[in-house]
Symmetry: C2
Subunit: 729 residues, 2 copies
């Protein structure tokens, strides 16, 4: 069976309880990318005609038309659901076929990269001497430097260039914060237990593995195959009840040992830990995302920005998710670095003049329209995408452009980057648009950056939970008369009825939006009562007309007060790093053992290597001189003092992506002026440079003040013996 | 009552169970700095003569002599203990008096600094809209930038300049790792509970507060006062039993409400959280220090360094300690950034040629000798300190010098840095020497960096726990015949007796040091049995002669295999940052409201501010030009577009330590060549510079390629109206 991957979701998806009350849930086990179905009789692999992508595209497109027309005719929910399922199934077959068709294009072998990663301690499973812990990784010197350089580029590209406000907030988070943000109740995956061994398994993994093995059975009929695949394709949509029923229906067992498994139960993915000595007093969690640390500081940040919108706050930091069964290396881990931006903006002014700077960029966009019609991702100019409405507004468009430029800057292959728009059914209700930057890897297209318009959800939630206004203000051009609506509590009656909890109700009522008040008004009129749920106290209160009154009055406004919208680009740094490593991993055509990471100098772990042709003490003063000059220029380097030959040393530095190499040879102290050779990693070409000059040249190359072409022109080429790169004399 | 501070300990202290078996405990509530005793009749404050520092010094010195002579005469433990207590008491009186005498020298007012910190969101208590959580802090844009710049300087000063191997390891840590390191059993403070309210209180805080209030009572006799103070002084040394007895003896109550409190119990300071879905399977903790992540990766790092010693690994990362009652702002927190270096070295070659570079540095050293004799910290050249044996070896001396240079580089006042040597009684048994870099603040001398020779403790522990050798090798000049001693297990008998646990015993026996084996041999000979404690299984096993045999044989060695020693400089970044903020906080003599942070440019949150004399659109192209040039040069800046006057804007940028300010005034577009003014924060002097040149000048100033004096000489001075700095025209 081929390896199946669930790409974890970096952005959050809401399921709206009502138009105004939104809570978000973790979008469970999104089956984004999957290898082709197993080699049984299937439409997508066994029939040679089925490999015809055009036919598959047509089949998707036809189903898309059917779905659209059903929606236009206001067909029943059931009918629409059925048609959506069929569409998904067809889309999956198409994706599988496309993946299969493209497989030949992969010029990297994951195993060879993994060998380098392990052997050179780029990263490795944490606590390996203790047997290791799944989902935890340690970064060795090379991995740590690459990651740190990616983050520095990120800071310079976003924080410095965009004048963002960088913050660093607490990872330990008290429960009420995550209660209000929705994580305590809903940030969960479904889990089932092996009833004999107690092993915990992810319900969706279990179901999928079970159905896949049924598909693989020799006697699997095509109708059954289609049914199983249909269930797999819909995996995202199942709640606890549906999963329980499917477990029963298909008699799901633990595939490892055939043991029975329990019914699926939700498992919250946050790491819980009490804060302070009394567990009862302050329950807390490790944050599952860095964003909440920005939202709770919104008022301070707005103040810092002199009360002005728009502004963006950014944070680089660790987040934690207690995955039930982490796998796929850096792609699904329990502790990971995120870089998140929350761009706060007036919801009525979602436009930026800076869009001009990116509007001519041509990106590969995979819009929901193309996904619906079975089309491919296509190159589109950002300007056109915004103008045609494919991208909702130019602020979102601007960030998409900036994300693309960042990924390319740190070494991603532009042909392996696409932006995929969320389908209507997977997108949060509060979001008017959401695009994921996906990077193509041997695991398929992996979501690495989410870029969503998150509306005012989080600020509103924290405001309701604390009673503290989370709003911005702007001067109105002229005073405006407006009707205002308030919910006025009958404090005496409420106090009498709800005692100590009445205060939380007052607080909540003060922070209501107009939209909320409308809902309360309607409910009171229709039912005579409004059922108030408060996340912070986890209680429901029956509010009747004698307890609250809706009051309307006219008021003159000189300033407009509003809850800002948030546009959130959210980067998974580990995933980006892994994808870049795959993109830059190369093997020299002449020798399969000669592997190198073609990293840009800015991201490379060291800017240059230093190699000495022998350990003679005559070299020492020249080494010292070069070390000192490089350090003065803040250029990182790695001195390889090992006893192996030059060729082996070059291979060692290439393998970890060091772009330039200084070699001290016999001519260095034998001939005046004293000189060394400088080698470029990708071309393996060398020039000869004086000892005094070489550090500055490496610095200029690393800072992109000059190119290797410039160096080739300025300095005499050096060619050692014929096989110089395997064994220089 | 004056505010008392316990400075938390950054380095670990061992209490040796035997010479070879070391486990470390957290050095609880080290009373390092304390304000003078309350104003009752006390020898140190009420009697004017007692303020005579010389007398106090003499009294300490005399007692030091007594203690020394007792030790020479091999006096009883009790006698020595008594004399040590008296010495401590006298030293405390001296320290208090010195602190009192120096108080007048403080030219900073903590409240004023705190006002700036809060108002400008340098940092603030986390989750303040939720009421805040003690011991958790968020860094706003200014604090985040300062902290990040300190860390960048740290990286450049240590990792780059010393070619250290930087790693980034997991914060979540499985229990066995911390069991072997000793944290699970011993990383605890003592806690008592208010029996009525359930409030958790630190036992030592409680006892101290109680005794202090007894001291303050009007009817407190001098004898009693001395007794109470003596208990306070010895607070570090008390274990659970002694604390329990003292609680009873003095009838300790909760000072807040007079309620009775429970007996003290140990409270482990690690945050516990299970890793993975099954709590029983993988208990884990958030790491209390970053060092263990380096130790468990020792073999990979040695490999990466081609098997060569010495080398240093370094890590910057978060650690977590669930303090019972955190206080004193950034000085005692629950989540904090550490920067730790583990320098691995051959225990027989503790010497470095690099010491030459720092040997002439004159530092303020407070040796244990001076502490014993009541002397002061004195300036000593590092070379002399190592030569005289005051500092144990020149590797330790080298790091002390490098730490000092780092602290000064990031803005610490050299006169407020001292290195205090651990006394014999506070130093770990495995450590041959330990020095703390302390920084003087309004809270007293605060330990900010620990620099200890940690011997081979951790590597040995992990080796014993996993059975994996943690050793380095070196070629012997000639083959050597050596007797080797092994403990040979009788596997059959052990297996029969200990069943499933026998494997842990085999593993343990394989990893024994010669020293361990000697102990086992002695015990077998004397008692016929050896009691084996294994931390990993938390069990004790009775090993008799029929279960194990000690075998000795001669063997020829070509390489020497040894467990490296570790020298560990460990930096508390939050504390360092706080101390530096105090050191650089200044108030202009002419106006108490004009406050500024005199941070070096490399640490300043932004390198320059940009101010425009009005919002006229004519300025826009010049602003754009300056923004673009600064970004191209990677120079961070803050544009203040607010509507307030220039003077107010200068004050705002000074307050957050921005070293340079560019102002666009009427001459910028009115007169050709277009020019701006450039202002320096500390002197408030200004020059006039052409628009095209200004970014490069700021970049040169920030990178220390030129000084402000150079700029003053090169460019024409600019003086605005008389009170230019309060309101420039």
């Amino acid at each position: 069976m081929r390896w199946l991957l669930n790409t974890a979701r970096l952005v959050r998806i809401t399921s709206a309880e009502s138009v105004c009350k939104k809570t978000f849930i973790r979008n469970k086990n999104k089956v984004r990318i999957m290898s082709a179905p197993p080699n049984t009789a299937t439409p997508s692999t066994s029939d040679p005609n089925s490999l015809d992508l055009d036919k598959l595209r047509l089949s998707v497109s036809e189903q898309g038309d059917i779905l659209r027309s059903l929606k236009e005719q206001n067909a029943s929910v059931d009918e629409v659901k059925k048609a959506t399922t069929e569409l998904k199934l067809r889309k999956k077959a198409l994706e599988d076929a496309k993946f299969e068709a493209n497989k030949g294009n992969w010029d990297i072998d994951r195993k060879k990269l993994e060998d380098v990663v392990k052997r050179r301690f780029i990263y490795s499973q944490a606590f390996s001497i203790y047997g290791g812990v799944a989902g935890l990784y340690d970064f060795g010197p090379v991995g740590c430097a690459i990651k740190s350089n990616i983050l520095n580029e990120w800071k310079s590209h976003f924080i410095l260039e965009e004048s963002m406000l960088e913050v660093e907030t607490s990872m330990l988070t008290p429960e009420p914060v995550l209660k209000n943000s929705g994580h305590v109740d809903r940030f969960a995956d479904f889990m089932a237990k092996d009833v004999n061994t107690g092993e915990c398994l992810r319900a969706d993994h279990l179901l999928k593995a079970h159905l896949t093995s049924l598909c693989e059975a020799d006697d699997c009929h095509f109708d059954k195959y289609k049914e199983y695949q249909s269930v797999i394709t819909q995996m995202d949509n199942y709640g606890q009840q549906e999963l329980t029923e499917l477990f029963k229906k298909y008699q799901v067992k633990n595939p490892r040992n055939g043991n029975a498994v329990s019914d699926p139960v939700p498992f919250n993915l946050m790491f819980a830990t009490p804060i302070g000595p009394s567990a009862a007093n302050t329950p807390g969690f490790l944050r599952p995302e860095t964003a909440q640390g920005i939202f709770v500081n919104f008022k301070k940040l707005l103040d810092f920005n002199n009360g002005k919108l728009p502004f963006a706050a950014a944070q680089i930091g660790s987040s934690f998710r207690n995955e039930i069964s982490p796998r796929a290396g850096l792609l699904r881990v329990r502790e990971f670095t995120m870089a998140e931006i929350e761009h706060f903006i007036d919801p009525n002014e979602k436009t930026t003049p800076k869009f001009e700077k990116v509007k001519d960029l041509e990106l590969t966009l995979f819009s929901k329209g193309q996904q619906m019609s079975g089309g491919s991702a296509v190159p589109v100019k950002l300007g056109d995408a915004v103008e045609s409405g494919m991208i909702a507004n130019n602020v979102l468009g601007y960030f998409i452009g900036r994300i693309y430029l960042f990924l390319v800057k740190i070494g991603a292959d532009p042909s392996k980057i696409r932006f995929r728009q969320h389908m209507d059914n997977e997108m949060a209700h509060y979001a008017c648009d959401c695009w994921d930057a996906e990077m193509n890897t041997t695991y398929g297209w992996i979501e690495c950056v989410g870029c969503a318009d998150r509306s005012c959800y989080d600020l509103t939630q924290h405001s309701k939970g604390t009673g503290i206004k989370m709003v911005a203000e702007k001067d109105l051009p002229a005073p405006v008369q407006k009707q205002i609506v308030e919910v006025v509590p009958n404090k005496g009656a409420l106090g009498k009825q709800f005692k100590g909890e009445a205060k939380a109700i007052f607080t909540y009522l003060e922070a209501l939006s107009d939209c909320d008040i409308k809902e309360i008004e309607q409910s009171l009129e229709q039912n005579g009562v409004y059922e108030l749920k408060i996340a912070a106290t986890d209680q429901t209160y029956q509010l009747t007309k004698d307890l609250i009154t809706i009051e309307k009055k006219m008021k003159t406004f000189h300033i407009d007060e509003f809850t800002p919208s948030v546009i959130e680009p959210s980067f998974g740094i580990g995933r980006i790093m892994y994808a870049v490593l795959e993109h830059v991993f190369k093997i020299r055509p002449e020798d399969d053992q000669k592997r190198y990471l073609s990293l840009p100098a800015s991201v490379a772990p060291y800017k240059c290597s230093i190699i000495c042709i022998s350990a003679k003490p005559e070299f020492d003063p020249f080494l010292d001189q070069i070390f000192t000059s490089l350090r003065r220029l803040n250029v990182s380097f790695k001195f390889d003092s090992g006893k192996t030959g030059i060729g082996r040393k070059y291979a060692r530095t290439d393998e970890i992506g060091i772009p330039f190499g200084i070699t001290l040879d016999m001519d260095t102290f034998g001939v005046k002026p004293h000189s060394v050779t400088l080698r470029e990693r990708d071309s393996t070409k060398q020039v000869r440079i004086n000892v005094e000059e070489v550090a500055q040249v490496v610095s200029d190359l690393s800072m992109q003040n000059c190119t290797w072409q410039d160096v080739l022109q300025k300095f005499p080429a050096f060619s050692a013996s014929a096989d110089s790169d395997s064994e220089q004399k």
